[in-house]
């Protein structure tokens, strides 16, 4: 709309500021929509003004968002991480921004110890711990630096098998390890014999079987499955039951055709069917492919990654390249398994916040009435959680739609300036790991990202535009 028609009729007015001036319009029967305006997050006035004045920002955000929304992730393969990610022996990937053994919390240490044992670099957990502490021959690197994401501890070592997703629009690839199920699992920091046996079976039986099935099926459109899952009560982070079923349904025919022994087939099908979160890792790789499509647009204030390493919560922004902006990771609030409680919980960890980065998970809570106990117990709480996210996002997803909101698109595209202006933080759903290495999962719930990560990113954007 231009101002050319401004004088043609009575103005239709958005008001921000003094109630008195809004009331004066109402008294004249003007059509208005008031803004519940609040001052921005303290310290953000100057950088906000600089970033808002940056001519590149608006077109850059449109371009970045357009790429994020038009990416078409397809699941194409399952391969050993060593080969897919070029991981060398002794190199271990982990969730979140860069960290060190010294700073790593219990779950990450436990997962790294398990991975060292899995790779045969040590015989006992104690020896693994010494090796990792000494650091010789060991390299730690964030998954995100290799186009990958990993849930919870996110530890990936060369012999683990990873899902390979290709965005057929822009050609980027993204990876995520196979989901191990719940309870005592490596990603929650458990490294007992059962954990390692399961990982070995996944590499020797499950991985090759899935690869055969996928190659027989051909590229599997994950955008379509994600859209369907939202209509079936999943939000794609803490609930993946529908999507897991859809995935298995799509692959079953091809699994059967693989010619594998029926006992192996039955074990693989039971494993996937018995793990409601099997699709989480597939969805994460798809999310990573979409978010990466939006990277590196100069001037863009769009968030392209949110990830935690159990110590820091970090974000990356399209306009600031590979720089991480971090703040302390909080302990999630949530529901605990058995006798576990908050005192047993590790600080927030995992790359699974890539789902929120592309408008799923906490942003799509309204899709998942079955898990509203995480957000307060009522369906209205879940809807409110999603509605609040429209305040800090730039778009509504054209394909990922929410039936209960009359098929409104999921809120997508977190804008650092909107977070700084409103003080509204992204809604993040998450699992909760035990803080002692080896414990495993203790619960699931919600966590608040630290505002510092967003204000630091805003400051960097301001500096990048000469402000």
């Amino acid at each position: 709309m231009t101002a050319d028609s401004l004088l043609a009729g009575e103005p239709v007015v958005v008001t921000a500021g003094l109630d008195l001036l809004h009331d004066a319009l109402t008294a004249q029967a003007a059509v208005t929509q008031p803004v519940a305006w609040r001052p921005p997050v303290p310290g953000c006035r100057e950088p906000l003004a600089a970033v808002m004045a940056d001519r590149r920002r608006e077109p850059a955000n449109r371009a970045a968002l357009d790429r994020l929304l038009s990416a078409t992730p397809h699941l194409v393969d399952v391969r050993p991480a060593g080969e897919a990610l070029g991981l060398e022996r002794g190199c271990f990937l982990h969730a979140g921004p860069p960290t060190t053994w010294e700073r790593a919390p219990g779950p990450l240490r436990g997962a790294l110890m398990g991975a060292v044992l899995l790779e045969g670099l040590a015989e006992t957990p104690e020896e693994a711990e010494r090796l990792l502490a000494a650091g010789s021959g060991i390299t730690l690197e964030p998954c995100h630096h290799r186009a990958a994401v990993g849930p919870m501890a996110g530890v990936v070592s060369p012999s683990m098998w990873v899902l390979e997703v290709v965005d057929t629009t822009y050609g980027r690839r993204a990876y995520c390890p196979l989901n191990e199920g719940l309870g005592q699992v490596l990603r929650y920091g458990a490294y007992g014999p059962a954990v390692l046996d399961r990982l070995r079976w996944m590499a020797s039986v499950l991985g090759p079987l899935l690869r055969a099935a996928l190659r027989s099926h051909g590229p599997l459109d994950l955008r379509a499955i994600t859209a369907q899952m939202l209509a079936m009560g999943d939000e794609g982070h803490n609930r993946n039951r529908a999507a897991t079923s859809l995935l298995l349904r799509r692959l079953l025919h091809h699994l059967v055709l693989s010619g594998a022994p029926s006992s192996e087939l039955a074990a693989a099908v039971d494993f996937i069917d018995g793990n409601d979160h099997f699709f989480l890792n597939v969805g994460m790789a798809a999310s990573k492919a979409c978010a990466d499509a939006a990277r590196d647009v100069p001037g863009s204030s769009l968030v392209v990654a949110m990830a935690r390493n159990g110590t820091d919560f970090g974000i990356q922004v399209s306009g600031t390249g590979d720089r991480w902006f971090t703040g302390p990771a909080a302990v999630p609030e949530g529901l605990y398994l058995g006798s576990f409680g908050t005192e047993d919980a590790s600080a927030d960890i995992g790359d699974s916040t890539i789902t929120e980065t592309v408008g799923l998970g906490g942003f799509a809570m309204a899709a998942a009435p079955a898990i509203v106990q995480f957000v307060g117990g009522q369906v209205s709480d879940a809807i409110s959680a999603t509605l609040a996210m429209y305040e800090i996002t730039l778009a509504e997803h054209p394909v990922h739609r929410l039936p209960i909101l009359d098929f409104r698109g999921c809120p997508v595209g977190i804008d650092v300036t909107l977070v700084a202006r409103t003080g509204i933080l992204p809604q993040v759903n998450t699992g909760i790991a035990g803080k002692q290495a080896g414990t495993g999962q203790v619960g699931a719930g919600l966590v608040q990202p630290p505002i510092q990560a967003f204000t630091a990113a805003l400051q960097a954007l301001a500096e990048a535009c000469g402000g």
Binding site: A3, L7, V12, A16, L20, A24, Q33, A53, S380, T422
Partner: protein
Amino acid sequence: MTSSVAVRRGTYVDSVRLMQVTREAGRLPGITAALVAMATPTNLELLAAMGLARPDGAGPDDLVVALEARDWEALSRAFGVIEEALARAAGPGAPGGFAQPGPPRTVRSAARRLPDANLALVSVPGQHAFTEAMDALEAGLSVMVFSDNVSLEEEVTLKEEAERRHLLVMGPDCGTAMINGVGLGFANVVRPGPVGLVAASGTGSQQVVCLLEAAGIGTSHVIGVGGRDLSEPVGARSCLRALGLLDADPATQLIVVVSKPPSPEIAAQVRDAATGCSTPTLLGFLGLGQPDLTSLAEQVVAHLGRPAPSWPRWSGEPGQQARPGALRGLFSGGSLCEEATAIAAQALGPIRSNVPLDPAWALPDDLRPDGHVMIDFGDDRLTTGRPHPMIDPTLRRERLAAEAADPTCGVVLLDVVLGHGADPDPAAWLAPAIAAARAGGGPAVVVSLCGTPGDPQGLEAQAGQLAGAGASVHLSNAEAARQAVALVRDR
């Protein structure tokens, strides 16, 4: 006597709403002093002046509730009332059943919910106004920036952006506008008519519109552009855009530009644009030695072929006489203050002011010199951290009492601006104050009353009360100023 100062961290309520809450609290039985305000430096000073402790570490994002009461009972009762009042201020938006959306938090979000929106009215504190105004332009809305204290650089950026998007920016520091009869900001209620205004002067355009209304001439639109629009750096961007819009508007048969005289280059640009308009255009570049607002209105009347009007005046005390002394002008409208200062200076010589005609006439920081004085209480420097004097009379009321008690003050000249957005009943505080000043053998009081019969306050009702209290009341600011000068000189 007991007192309490409580701080609510990170709670924001706008300053006008807080003033209402403060007033409500101050009227409660047993309460001797109350302040409910954001902890801005200004308000913390106010707190100190009330003799109350300054809360530790409270900043501009924190809400302070300070009370002094006769006893604990009154104190706790008042806290309850304030709690309720603040809850009302928080407004609706609580979800119920299948959740309703909370209120929009940004202009872009609000614009999404109002798809026909074509204008944003931004009145957030000035240092944050740029962000919201930019957001409005990006959402495809023209924007009126009521906020003051916006930097020149930000103004230029906004207007360049508006130009690229074919939108209009009114302001910053745009106090008034009217589009098809809908008043924005401070606006008088006038009949529809042939005159369209482009105004770099808020109360200046209100004065012209009110005079035209009194002459039976209606107004099509008033497009405010902000006081700096015709400066060199801004380059009259909004003025030129507004001229184009009014020229294209079929309802507008005469365009009037109201501004201080710009530089010769800018004046030439505006003149060229006016010449290019197919609609006749009057350029009212006002200031020292130039025609005043009243004569501009008279030009309009003449241009439209109407008989020369005689402007309304009300006098409760015919032949009011001043005691010997100086002229003291206490204004809420910047342009009215400037015009009165120019008129007074021609007759009386140097006039000290916080917006002086000559830098040598600047007021000392305490605003209390000897001799003739004109104070614009609406100036940026006096509105930081507090509402505009057209809304909040506190400073002017205090100053009026001080002038009444000052034997060197012979005549007080005040403006009262009516209309939407302004004080709902200024006579309620001003008439008793005038009566008190006059009763004690105090200074003569002259009021410049800018309003129309259609204004919510009612022109006649307000004029009647002010005149009844002993003031001489004029619709024309220039006539009011001339009368005040005459009263000073007659002694």
